[in-house]
Symmetry: C2
Subunit: 137 residues, 2 copies
Amino acid sequence: MNFSKTSKYALRILSHMAKDETAQYSAQQLHEDINIPVRYLRRLLTDLSKSGFIKSTHGRNGGFTFSRSASQIFLSEIVDSVDGFESINGCILGYDSCAFDYKCPMHVIWQETKQKVINTLKNTSLHDLRKNDLVFD
Amino acid sequence: MNFSKTSKYALRILSHMAKDETAQYSAQQLHEDINIPVRYLRRLLTDLSKSGFIKSTHGRNGGFTFSRSASQIFLSEIVDSVDGFESINGCILGYDSCAFDYKCPMHVIWQETKQKVINTLKNTSLHDLRKNDLVFD
DNA sequence: ATAAAATGCTACTTAATTTTAGTATTTCTT
DNA sequence: AAGAAATACTAAAATTAAGTAGCATTTTAT
């Protein structure tokens, strides 16, 4: 169970962008909106472009827009693309063999909880988040 | 949502010790049993002693034993003592203000899932794990 | 007594993650 | 054509996390 800071950033970026799904955002603008160091943010935006969530347009009035509908981007995909799905799905005690051997003492107990996490991430799209974004500024 | 490697180690150590709850384990022995670098393991064991989960006896036949019953040590306490409870309970997007302002877009959606994780950790003792430790060696 | 086998303390080193910097390229505006 | 405002690429610096080393101390066995 492990979300890196970078994953959190990615989720923050994209969930923010989802508020106005068709708008174009520049790195500078996003930096002012959410609180992520601007140079690192830029790198992440490039990564998210490469991963196919957003696309960039270059040049003066450039920026980033979604490359597919926010209702079709699920949180699990985002975490997967940054940290890898193993970060969520892997053994909670860090044993490599656990997944196929069911060896670890926490395997049975953790299974259901883990599944709940995975399901939430798999079933929640960026569009779904927007509905719940009541008072964020 | 963030379990550090060190937290995983701590869980591994203690869940392994819980298999024979009254036994005494040396760092060397534990190192051979579970796969954690021996010097780091020793440091963690000292930390876990200070946190009150186990107690150490010095000298030649020394080692570590539980300082309270494994049925009274809950996984949440272990994670809390190593990474801090915030690592589990904190905002999934990393916003500081989320907890009291309910500001973050994922707050509502994540709430229930997070609670499931917390409940599992809070309700599972090291003794409970033992029951589920079917084939681990 | 002395050596062996254990923990405890403190500092150091390495590795991974996060952040910053510099420079190139693209595109629009004027 | 030139400058402004954007992204892209690569390298480096800073920070944090993980792992290692040395030496001191404690206890037991011989």
